[in-house]
Symmetry: D3
Subunit: 147 residues, 6 copies
């Protein structure tokens, strides 16, 4: 019998993880405060360097508090950015997981609708600005940061 596939590779289940992979799986549980290892990380674990690179990047940028790093963004805002990017790219797994995360942060359907509508809007204006090849405006009084 052919089992339904869940990915193009066989995910590494938590009970089979050893060494650095097991450590990262434990860190994912703790840092995210979840009680299972999402399939994404189980798949990346098929190449431990890949797991290391992606988890380390995501931990620093999405969970800076856990590392004592400063951040100017609210955790819910970070998830909104993640969702807007995922909607733009049409990534099924990612849309599902970031929508779930946004809900954990208290977003309701109306808030989700604003994020989605704005993401949709700028996909429209991006196509228009690119489709007409519009040169950027020169912002008249450039402040010091805009050299």
């Amino acid at each position: 019998m052919i089992e339904p596939r869940t990915a193009t590779v066989r995910p590494v289940p938590e009970e089979n993880a050893t060494g650095r992979v097991a450590e990262i799986f434990a860190d994912i549980r703790t840092t995210k405060g979840i009680d299972f290892i999402p399939r994404f990380w189980q798949v990346l674990a098929t190449n431990p360097t890949q797991l290391e690179v992606v988890w380390s990047s995501l931990k620093q940028l999405m969970h800076p508090e856990s590392l004592g790093l400063e951040s100017k963004l609210d955790p819910a805002v970070r998830e909104m950015i993640a969702l807007a990017v995922s909607a733009t790219n049409g990534c099924s797994y990612c849309v599902n997981s970031h929508t779930a995360a946004l809900r954990k942060h208290g977003a309701d359907a109306a808030t989700l609708g604003e994020v989605m509508a704005i993401a949709g809007l700028f996909n429209m204006t991006n196509a228009l600005a690119d489709g007409y090849q519009i040169e950027p405006d020169v912002f008249p009084p450039l402040d010091e940061d805009q050299s």
Copy 2:
């Protein structure tokens, strides 16, 4: 002599605008509190229905306060979403204008860096989740909204 092009069509300068186009240009100035018409709108004005559709959409979603519409998102957050989408699509005009807008809302280079790094991160994870064709996790305790 061939002047440098600013778009694939000749933008409609404010002094040539009449009728509905002139009204929309005036509304753009007032609603956005700016003292010039960005080239984007001058270009869209080459087809007045297009200008109407895009401005009306953008006004409702990015300036809901001006219409008495409720919004759950901070104006700076809306611009962050706009910028993340524009970075993902690589839209030159849009990146420039949303970066400028974000600065008006007080974002400094460190904040901009967080938005950009998160947008970059999820372009990476989107490619990975899609590139491995990972099936979404089933979120164990589905709340009522997730039918």
Copy 3:
């Protein structure tokens, strides 16, 4: 039991629609000449402003006749553009609905094949022109519109 999901939010079924949402649902039925509300609109209805913005935009651009607006494009051509964009973005829902719409306009598999092949071709040439960073040709005799 976990029902299969049809979206990340619970669509608004027609029998639950009230107020502005119910009006828009009725307008969708009439304008499109269909006897059900496609799931896309049921989902957008979870945020009524979003439904308003997207329906109003789509009505003006895809059903201009219903509003007495002028159009230079044949309705089938509009759907071809919609399908080419949806194929480029890989949007599953959209490919399905625009293919169905194109069939309503009388397109057969050979015509669909031409649209798809041309959309495919220019995804190839776009990657090549961008991948070599080719500067646009200066079109020697610029006509008056090309300043």
Copy 4:
């Protein structure tokens, strides 16, 4: 002195073309009825197999009449599809060349505006349908072609 670059490779100017490349350059002039070789083809000529593949594909799909092939699409419609794809991908060279081609076919700024607005619209709806992961509608009475 460093000349401004026009591509990441040195284009093959027409006077240097020999053999199969020269034949294709001549065919491009004749088939397209133009009196210069656009930079795109000069760049592809740095690898003759690449030039062969792309020109052969484009000739069959965009100039079927020149080969006695049947086509259901108007030449202007083909360029509209090309432009919509190029706007979606944000390809600078391609937007410029397909806009110029569309003008040759008689399109004015209003027509161009319709094509662009529709391309923009469906970039918006694509992001929404993907961003909500909406399952395709099942079209109730499937016709024979829709197995």
Copy 5:
């Protein structure tokens, strides 16, 4: 009963193929050394010109040996490029077929992981370079090819 759809058109099964389509199907079997016609080619066959264009292009670029064409790239490297592009575009069919092809060439999960991680990485850096609108470096000692 409604059969599950496998595409928006009815694929052409091998036993129904005639003329040029049948010849191309036979060539696909031989050139690729496979004993079935993948669904992709069955679908393209609904428009024989489309099938001709795409197969001819793919044969020249992915199976140059079969035509006596020179190639500098290892067949496995060609599939890695195909997979990286497909991951970037999030194309489900393509990711599945190029992953299978890469396995035939002997790639294991660790190698696949390197390809995927690198594809992911550059989707991140692309968004960053575009999102900051960074001008290309001028490479100081330009070699002769870089005019």
Copy 6:
């Protein structure tokens, strides 16, 4: 006078770098064997965490030898993947830098042409497979890795 902008932020020049940023700049010089800091890294340095995340990821995946990590891919192949992704996304900075890197690894215009043509080809087939919504083939004899 308004200087031409090189990015939406002011890059951090090497002489102004201190602390962790200075260390990373030194590591970039050594690891890459180059005698200047590419603008990309100067821009990322406006947010040191961002610089850290991206450089650390890139070092592990593109310079594994420098860290004693195992790799199955040739350095030139890694750059080919980078270039194919960058062409697909149309990233100007990235196309320029990865083309330059590929040349350092000895690639000539013919090799570059193969990479580009293959990247172009699969952007075409991706649009076709997505545009027809073709279901993946089930690969009959699944090997152990393909659960």
